[in-house]
Every structure is written in structure tokens, then in C-alpha cells.
Amino acid sequence: MKMTQQDYQHMSDLASPKTKSYQTIPMAFLIGGLICTIGQALTNLYTHLGLSEKDAALTTSISLIFLSALLTGLKVYDNIAKYAGAGTLVPITGFANAVVSPALEFKSEGYVLGLGAKMFIIAGPVIVYGTLASVLYGLILFLFKLY
């Protein structure tokens, strides 16, 4: 069969159905927006209870992480994510799901090398590169005396 890789790639692209973006993008907007709205409601509640703005934001994050962890354990989060896509990926709840799901999945390989070691196989890079970016920013601040 004589055909270049480029030709076949083109043929394959034509034969492959595309993601229905007219569905996925509005769904991501809707569910992502909804999660943030729940976050806002929690923030308002915590501020009402007398927490400072900063503490209310942190408590909101922790609450959302808890909810996401629970929904992951109850096998609900992945079923919402099937429709929500980035709507459940981008909020902090997506980060929590990425931590909880491998912990749960790899428990069968033991508490240390399974649960413990595999907990950050998906979310680890977020912490690695987020932290590295913050260090770089800190160095720039320090060197150029921007503070």
C-alpha cells in the first residue's frame, strides 16, 4: 500500500468525527459557572459568619475540595465530568478529583506505594509548575527590588 503518512493523517482526520463544540463549550460554561456560583454562596456564608475575606476564600476552597472528594468517592463526579468537560476540570474541584481518584484507584497496591505514591500522578505537575512559577516570580521581585 503506497501512501505517505501525511496522506493517511489527512484521510484519518476526514473519517474521524469532530467533538461537538456547540455542545461541549456551553456545557463547560454552564457547569463551571455553577460551581463558581456555589463557591460564591459559600464565600458569602463564611463572610456572614464573621470570617475575614481571605479566610472565607480559603474555607470556600476547602469546602469545594471536600465536596469534590465526596462526589468522587460516590462515583458521581466522573459522571458529571463526562458532560461538563473543562467545566469540572478547571475549578479547584477538578484538582481535588485529580488527587482523590488515583488515591482511590491505586489503594489496591497498598497504602504506601499505591495510595500514597500515586495520589499526585495527575495533579502533581500542577503543584510542581505552579510552585516553580511562584519561585521565579519571587526571584524577579527580589532581584529587581520590586517589593
Binding site: 460554561f29 463558581c36 480559603l58 476552597s61 495520589m119 510552585t131
Partner: protein, 118 residues
């Protein structure tokens, strides 16, 4: 009103993520990393905090908000401790979220069993 702002801004940030998934070859893990780093960058440039002031949870709940938090933490720490702050600021500000994820992750893994997908 603040609910509407949170909904619209939060939804828009997620929609950007979905556009990246649909139209680029980026995997979800790469998108998460990009969003956090973008958050640090926007935070460093002072562009993200106004969005948080405007949209509240709509800007702080997406992972870009997590990046902004890291940038803010470093800013404060460098002010306080100089060079040492560059190393401690980021993770200190992220400690609550990361620790909560570890704790709840552990507890959920302890209690539940992974199940089949429908």
C-alpha cells in the same frame, strides 16, 4: 448580583479550557498546568486581582485563581523575608488547598472502593 458575576466569569474561564481541549491537542493535565502557570503570571502582572475583586469566587475558584494565590503569597513573603520568601511564599499560600486535598483524598480512598463505569 455577585452570584451572576461569579457565574459568568467562572463559566467563561471554564469555556476557555474547553476550547483548548476541543481545538488543540492539549491533554487535561497540560491544561491544568497551563491554567495554574497563567494564574501565577497574571497575578504577577497585577492583572488577576482586579478580576477576583470583580467576580469573587468566579475568579478564585478556577485553577487560575490558585495560581494567583501563589503569586500573592510570594509577593507578601518576599516583602517580609526577602530572598527566603521566594521559596516559602508560594506553597505557604497554597498549603490549605493542597493539605485539604491530601486529607480528603486519603479519607475517601480509605472509605470507598473504585467502581465500574456505566
Amino acid at each position: 448580583m455577585d452570584y451572576l458575576k461569579a457565574f459568568l466569569v467562572g463559566g467563561a474561564i471554564c469555556a476557555i479550557g474547553q476550547i483548548l481541549i476541543d481545538y488543540t491537542k492539549m491533554t487535561p493535565a497540560r491544561i491544568l498546568v497551563s491554567f495554574v502557570v497563567a494564574g501565577v503570571l497574571l497575578g504577577a502582572l497585577g492583572l488577576y486581582q482586579p478580576l477576583v475583586d470583580f467576580a469573587g469566587a468566579g475568579a478564585s475558584v478556577p485553577l487560575t485563581g490558585f495560581g494567583n494565590l501563589l503569586a500573592k503569597g510570594v509577593q507578601e513573603a518576599v516583602q517580609e523575608k526577602g530572598l527566603l520568601g521566594a521559596l516559602t511564599g508560594g506553597l505557604t499560600s497554597a498549603a490549605g488547598g493542597v493539605t485539604a486535598s491530601i486529607l480528603f483524598g486519603f479519607l475517601v480512598a480509605l472509605i470507598f472502593r473504585p467502581g465500574d463505569k456505566a
